[in-house]
């Protein structure tokens, strides 16, 4: 792949990226969340079209038309979320869409025989007649690999295949990868586990902010060096955080626990303070946010708001206590897309805007108009459906509804994801204003410069637990990333 470019509205996701994969090579792709690895792989596997650049397969230039075309070229992708049909057997899954048989009558025996042979080649024995949902994750992954091989996959992309596996299962997967490599299959391996780089990889390419940083031999590049390569960033964006002395305690979270996803998390938020929370995907950040506001109440632990221990069992309780959540996905969780800007801003405020259950329409419009003006939300009218606004303006509507509700604590989950730089800066300015007014903000973000630039303190999560807490001005991106990756010395 040469000079691949891809941009989304407001963001350049891939900027002149080169990637070369040799036959029989395990090529590891490293980078933080949002570095562009997944976008690059989606371009290669045909689910996204590139804006510019060249792709060569076996030396010949190709223009990949779509997933189907990529498959014909022998490019296979195994996503983190497996693409199997759970109630069907392993054999049926492997041959889905290409069932052996004659005149539409399935030859199930042939499919099962062939499936067993493919899986046998991978060194696993699986009952191919059992529904795949009854198999462990590792075996399901083997079924995916077998499926890819049965379709003559020559380039296999594996997106964080080990994230859900136990040590023994990882060993099994790696043995499979070795066997595939020996057969000449090329593998592009995306992982966050740095110790896997030297163990399985031949070469490693590090990506950052949509660019390729470097490609190195995998076995001889030390882990601290990889961390440095992933974290170093040019100082391009600036973060206008104005810090002040924090005031009284607003929110205290004690020992929040919910299964494996959230383990014994405690922290304190004071007036005028922004606490940043970062970590890799699946580190438990979003679970923490949802537990605090009662969207998914914690199994144990407690929340103390302004000195009072409270039970937050549902978001309604959180609102009454002055806690608001700006969720990570504004389209599916933040907004009612089909409703107008006015109705969306009014939604958490409807109780306040009504008497005897009847909404005072004039007050509702006035409230929405005030916040649209105050936040400079660009919309042709208050009646505009939220769906038709740009990402940045949509995010401002989500923020606006909580500001209109005058919450004291705002929990923002990836507040600037997918919005352009001017809108980002506006949102940062707004956060400054809120803290200057004595409110407190919990900011969850994957973007290290943003977390360190905008927060006063930063908590790093890993495996559902907080593994480090630092003053934002006294730590570095490399240190935070090392904690997030579990590589801190």
């Amino acid at each position: 792949m040469e000079s691949i470019r891809k941009s989304f509205p407001g963001v350049v996701a891939l900027d002149d990226v080169d990637l070369e994969v040799r036959p029989g090579e395990v090529h590891v792709l490293l980078g933080e969340n949002g570095a562009g690895k997944s976008t690059l792989m989606k371009v290669l596997s045909g689910s996204l079209r590139k804006d510019a650049g060249q792709i060569h397969v076996d030396g010949a230039p190709v223009e990949i038309q779509g997933p189907r075309h990529a498959q014909q070229l022998g490019i296979r992708i195994i996503y983190q979320e497996l693409n199997l049909v759970p109630p069907l057997s392993a054999a049926a899954n492997i041959f889905l869409g290409r069932e052996p048989g004659r005149w539409g009558v399935l030859d199930r025996r042939a499919a099962e025989r062939e499936a067993a042979r493919l899986l046998g080649e991978l060194g696993v024995t699986v009952d191919v007649t059992r529904p795949v949902r009854e198999l462990g994750i590792a075996h399901q992954q083997m079924v995916e690999v077998a499926k890819a091989l049965s379709e003559e996959g020559r380039i296999l992309i594996m997106d964080e295949p080990t994230s859900a596996l136990t040590t023994a299962e990882i060993d099994q997967l790696f043995a499979t990868i070795e066997r595939l490599r020996a057969r000449g299959t090329s593998i592009i391996y995306i992982s966050h586990r740095l110790e896997e780089v030297a163990r399985i990889g031949d070469r490693v390419t590090v990506m950052r902010d949509g660019r390729r940083v470097t490609t190195r031999p995998a076995r001889t590049t030390p882990i601290p060096e990889l961390v440095r390569l992933m974290a170093d960033r040019e100082v391009g964006e600036h973060f206008p955080r104005r810090r002040g002395a924090p005031g009284d305690e607003l929110l205290r979270v004690e020992h929040l626990t919910r299964g494996e996803r959230l383990r014994d998390v405690s922290f304190v938020l004071r007036r005028g303070e922004i606490v940043g929370i970062t970590g890799l995907l699946g580190a438990g950040r979003t679970e923490l946010a949802r537990a605090i506001v009662g969207a998914e109440p914690p199994a144990s632990g407690r929340v103390v708001v302004k000195g009072r221990a409270v039970a937050v069992r549902r978001p309604k309780d959180a609102l009454a206590l002055g806690l608001g959540l700006v969720p990570e996905d504004r389209k599916t969780q933040g907004l009612v897309l089909g409703l107008s800007v006015e109705r969306n801003v009014a939604l958490p405020n409807t109780r306040r805007l009504s008497a005897w259950g009847i909404v005072r329409a004039a007050a509702e419009s006035a409230l929405a108009a005030r916040w649209v003006r105050d936040m400079r939300i660009k919309t042709p009218s208050l009646a505009q459906p939220a769906r038709l606004l740009s990402g940045g303006n949509q995010q401002k509507v989500v923020l606006g509804k909580w500001l209109a509700a005058d919450v004291d604590v705002l929990i923002v989950d990836e507040p600037t994801r997918g919005i352009d730089v001017p809108a980002k800066v506006e949102i940062y300015d707004l956060m400054n204003r809120l803290t200057a007014e004595g409110k407190g903000i919990v900011m969850i973000s994957s973007e290290l410069p943003e977390v360190l630039g905008m927060s006063d303190r930063v908590l790093v999560m890993r495996g559902g637990a907080v593994v480090a807490e630092r003053e934002s001005t006294r730590t570095t991106q490399a240190e935070v990333l090392a904690f997030a990756l579990g590589q801190a010395c």
Binding site: V293, A295, R314, P315, K316, A318, L319, A320, G324, L325, P327, T332, Q333, G334, L335, V336, L337, G338, L339, R343, A346, L347, P348, T350, R351, S354, G357, I358, V359, A361, P380, S381, A383, Q384, P385, L388, K401, A405
Partner: protein
């Protein structure tokens, strides 16, 4: 200024109304009797049962759900009302009992859907069968007939020449419209149907309001039962079969989206009238009832087809 989407929605509403008017004009040409005052009142009266049920159905569908139990709830409410009247209860008490049976059954639907996390389709499908069975067991399968003139006024009385069932229907639509457009409950119904999770995260008790929507639908069925029982002077345990389909049809012909969040009650009223006018007109023309079913099916499909074709244009 209307935005594109709002204009599209307005065009759709107007379209249904134009359809109704065109249908009426066509029928008045084909059969002179159609436009007579007595026939129009007759249409309105016949439409009232379906129209009242469709009010509840509109709330349910707007919230993103479905209520298949309304026809059976009508039968159950009707026989309870009738039994209470026959047992000598005052008319008001008997009416309240009928409405309460509908409301309580709706409450059970709502709790099964919100607390039990059942799909609305399944919960109300079960209730459809349970309520029907209960009505049959309660009556031994026999109708309960013969009521005092006081109760029958619900069918026989008239206000300025307008039959009582029509007056009741108009009242129900006015109240329903105010509930939907002016109250917090109405706001939440649209929001829940549009995006339940976002609504819940905005501090709204989505479960409570969803439950109330089914209660409302049950009460509407109970009211329709009273109208039907008064008109027939009889309550039948097998009344209301397939009424859920008529109510759903009126709602979607009226422009309410089956996926929730979009729609109006006046649309539903026009939808119910289109179905009523169509049945009446085909009867006047002497068309067989077999053929009527085909025509109504075509109308339902056409209305929704127009919807889906208007959608990209509205974007």
């Amino acid at each position: 200024m209307l935005t594109g989407a709002a204009a599209g929605r307005r065009a759709r509403e107007l379209g249904t109304l134009v359809g109704l008017v065109a249908l009426a004009m066509l029928l008045s040409i084909l059969t002179p009797h159609f436009l007579s005052v007595s026939n129009l009142l007759n249409v309105a009266e016949q439409t009232s049962i379906n129209a009242v049920i469709a009010v509840g159905m509109t709330f349910v569908i707007l919230s993103g759900g479905i209520d298949l139990s309304v026809g059976s709830l009508l039968a159950l409410s009707g026989v309870v009302l009738a039994a209470a009247l026959r047992a000598g209860w005052p008319t008001a008490a008997a009416l309240a009992a009928g409405l309460a049976v509908g409301g309580l059954s709706g409450l059970v639907n709502g709790i099964l859907i919100t607390k039990g996390r059942l799909p609305a389709f399944i919960a109300t499908l079960g209730m459809m069968s349970i309520a029907r069975g209960t009505a049959l067991v309660f009556t031994g399968g026999r109708p309960i007939s013969g009521f005092e003139a006081g109760f029958r006024k619900l069918s026989t009385a008239a206000l300025l020449g307008v039959p009582a069932p029509v007056v009741v229907t108009v009242l129900v639509y006015v109240l329903g419209h105010l509930l939907l457009t002016r109250t917090r409950f109405g706001r939440y119904v649209y929001a829940i149907g549009g995006n339940e999770e976002a609504t819940r995260l905005s501090g709204v008790s989505a479960a409570f309001h969803k439950t109330m929507v089914y209660v409302l639908s049950g009460v509407a069925s109970g009211l329709a039962a009273a109208l039907l029982t008064a008109r027939l002077n009889s309550a039948q345990p097998i009344a209301g079969i397939n009424y859920e389909l008529d109510a759903i049809a009126a709602t979607v012909i009226g422009g309410t989206s089956l996926s929730g969040g979009v729609g109006t009650l006046h649309g539903t009223l026009v939808g119910a009238l289109i179905m009523g006018v169509l049945r009446n007109g085909l009867n006047l023309l002497g068309t067989s009832s077999f053929f009527q079913q085909i025509v109504i099916g075509v109308v339902i499909i056409t209305a929704v087809l127009v919807d889906s074709m208007l959608k990209p244009a509205a974007k």
